[in-house]
């Protein structure tokens, strides 16, 4: 089981990851499960979802603007990094957090490695589902330390 780090600490996770279009999503939510749904499934069932128990994950080519009208009420948005060299997730995080003012939990999942955590955090990601082989202690250190003056030098306040 891979480690979840949230707000700088190892944390328990009550969210269940839903990969594709599985049956009985609404029923499972009504039965009390907390599900992270693919954007397409979330969109299809949106009107019938309990916002406290249904959250959403985005793939790298999903359009985050789809969520805008409901963004404030979504407790968790996860961004999937299929491989760590796919940098699209950084732009999605920037857009949700910085442009559209999302204040809930913004989580990186997938190929999430120690050496990229500080960059993800700078784009507004505040929770990290590490790849299974990544040492949690190193991850915590990377988030706590990192570069003292990370970006952007001294040009932009």
């Amino acid at each position: 089981m891979s480690t979840l780090i949230r707000h700088g600490k190892v944390a328990d996770d009550h969210w269940q990851w839903i990969e594709g279009d599985v049956p009985r999503v609404v029923e499972r939510l009504e039965a009390g499960e907390h599900l992270v749904l693919p954007l397409a499934v979330w969109s299809a069932h949106r009107a019938r979802l309990d916002p406290l128990r249904a959250s959403v994950w985005l793939g790298p080519d999903d359009v985050p603007e789809t969520l805008l009208p409901w963004l404030a009420g979504i407790p968790l948005v996860a961004i999937h990094f299929p491989v760590f060299t796919d940098g699209r997730g950084y732009s999605l995080a920037h857009l949700l957090r910085r442009r559209h003012g999302y204040t809930g939990e913004l989580r990186a999942v997938g190929d999430v490695l120690v050496d990229q955590l500080a960059l993800m955090a700078q784009c507004g990601i505040d929770s990290f589902r590490l790849r299974a082989d990544q040492p949690p202690a190193a991850a915590l250190a990377a988030l706590a330390g990192g570069l003292r003056s990370p970006w952007p030098g001294s040009v932009v306040p």
């Binding site: 950084y90 442009r99 050496d115 040009v155």
Partner: protein
């Protein structure tokens, strides 16, 4: 010159510590090869044919004498006593040891240098005109803008894992000496009718496997919007550029797929969110940056110095050097001097540690301690009083860097090629040497006049062969080295890509092929007409017929 602030210095120092930790984890097996690769590339470290290669950033080609001395020191202690200046105005050390790379980076950090983002799929070193700030013909000095973009792009977290590498160049106007139309983003200085300062923005240019001339996507971008606009371009590229095929992943392919109009619309929609907002660059920032680069301390120097005039009259060799290697400076009585790294028999762009130390000393004596690296792989001293030219010439001669060939055939641009680079299909350095040896006669070279010859050892085009008036490309055919010849490439406002003249040649044939091309030119040229203009006037056929005996 820009001097690091505390934040810049901390960043490079922290970066060294971070990379040392990553290297340690790689060497003891905690960090896998695939995970380490992008990390080392973003610190300039390649794994090459014989040894790892470290590419050190020289931001917009500007070096202080003490920095060049440090590069000499690194060449001696960590390499084989020399370095290679590249077409992106960086320097490469071709014989470093992997485990010593963090130590080299630590040495660089002591002189405000680094190797950050000299490789990898991220924003690379910003380049500009080697004559920036001193050229008589520029609208304004592009270097303050280069520095602003350097700071913004250094470790910009959103843009470190782009689909592919990303290159930005600035030029100060009039003459484009930075090849802005061959960059992912090119910014060309513009002053609006009402006096506002800004840039024309070109996008999607580049060489490599699919060479393209950049397209103008905006006539005038006000300077305060530079970062907002660049961020919009980068975000559109990061989200929508192709990632399924590395050969189709540069922004030029996205621009082609969306069309220029479609791409521009996406960027402008993105820009609309930030335009006029907090990302605008303030006037105070511009003033502060300009102050780093402005020079008001030129001692008055007579435009007509008797000693200089006597040297011109007394020495044909000196006069020739002045004709080719000395350029106009915006300050009367001053000149810009190019030191040639293209001496026959020396790989183009290579400099020994002794030469680097020697140039540092010349810079301190004659050029306010400043050196520039040109994308033609020469070194430039930008602030030389004309009366000092005879003494500087003697000093440059003693270093073997006074070959009077700037802009001539033997000032050829060349990548390290198959002797060093694991990407190369063919060697380039021996072919360059054969060309330089064949055309070593100065009278003939001067008679031929301005001529740019560029050579690359593979389609990645580090030698920029597509924009050479004569281009040579090394290709592999059944494990043999062959060389394809192109004609008619050029940079600047009439930017064009060279066209292949026909089947490729063996290495030994290349000097004869060049000789044939030159003979055709000498036969057809009008008085004073340069090679490239004569070629454009008469077309390729006469050249092809001569080279292939009419059978092409």
């Amino acid at each position: 010159m820009y001097r690091y602030k505390q934040a810049d210095q901390r960043l490079v120092e922290d970066r060294v510590a971070q990379f040392r930790d990553q290297m340690t984890r790689f060497l003891d097996g905690r960090l896998g090869e695939d995970e380490f690769r992008p990390l080392r590339l973003q610190n300039g470290l390649y794994v090459q044919r014989h040894a790892p290669m470290l590419r050190v950033a020289i931001p917009y080609g500007t070096l202080a004498a003490y920095q060049l001395r440090k590069l000499a020191d690194i060449a001696r202690r960590f390499d084989r006593g020399y370095g290679h200046f590249t077409t992106r105005s960086n320097i490469q050390f071709n014989w470093v040891r992997l485990e010593e790379a963090p130590d080299i980076l630590a040495e660089l950090a002591t002189v405000q240098m680094h190797a950050i983002q000299t490789s990898g799929n991220c924003i690379r070193n910003i380049t500009t005109d080697p004559f920036a700030g001193v050229a008589a013909d520029e609208l304004f000095d592009p270097r303050p803008y280069c520095e602003i973009v350097r700071q913004w792009s250094t470790l910009a977290p959103e843009f470190l894992f782009l689909p592919r590498k990303f290159k930005i160049a600035f030029a100060g106007g009039a003459e484009d000496r930075a090849a802005v139309r061959f960059h992912d983003i090119g910014a060309l200085a513009r002053v609006a009718d009402d006096g506002r300062i800004g840039f024309e923005i070109f996008v999607g240019g580049g060489l490599g496997r699919t060479p393209m001339v950049g397209r103008s996507m905006r006539d005038f971008l006000p300077r305060e919007e530079l970062l907002n606009y660049f961020e919009a371009i980068l975000r559109v590229y990061n989200r929508h550029g192709r990632r399924d095929n590395k050969y189709k992943a540069r922004i030029k392919i996205l621009v082609k797929d969306l069309t220029l109009e479609g791409f521009t619309r996406e960027v402008e929609d993105e820009w609309a969110w930030t335009r006029g907002g907090p990302g605008c660059i303030s006037d105070a920032t511009f003033r502060e940056m300009e102050a780093f680069f402005a020079r008001h301390d030129y001692a008055p120097a007579a435009a007509d110095d008797p000693g200089y005039r006597a040297a011109l009259a007394g020495s044909r060799a000196f006069a020739r050097w002045v004709e080719r290697n000395v350029s106009a400076h915006r300050e009367p009585g001053y000149a810009v001097v190019t030191l040639s790294l293209k001496k026959t028999g020396v790989p183009p762009g290579d400099a020994t540690a002794e030469q680097m130390d020697g140039v540092a000393e010349l810079a301190e004596r004659f050029s306010a301690g400043e050196i520039r690296v040109s994308h033609e792989q020469n070194l430039v001293l930008p602030h030389v009083a004309r009366r000092d030219l005879p003494a500087l010439w003697e000093g440059a001669r003693a270093l073997g860097m006074a070959t009077p060939n700037i802009g001539l055939l033997t000032d050829l641009v060349c990548c390290p090629g198959g002797d060093f680079c694991s990407l190369a299909n063919a060697r380039s350095v021996p072919v360059a040497a054969a060309i330089q040896q064949r055309f070593d006669d100065l009278d003939y070279l001067f008679d031929l006049g301005p001529l740019e010859l560029n050579m690359s050892g593979c389609v990645n085009a580090c030698g920029h062969h597509h924009i050479g008036h004569i281009g040579i490309l090394g290709v592999d055919k059944n494990n043999e080295e062959w060389y394809q010849v192109t004609l008619g490439g050029r940079e600047g406002s009439q930017a064009a890509l060279g066209r292949v003249i026909g089947p490729s040649f063996a290495a030994g044939q290349i000097p004869d092929v060049i000789a044939d091309l030159l003979e055709v030119y000498v036969g057809v040229r009008h008085e004073g007409e340069p090679f490239i203009d004569a070629l454009e006037r008469v077309g390729l056929d006469a050249f092809k017929a001569r080279v292939y005996g009419g059978a092409a």
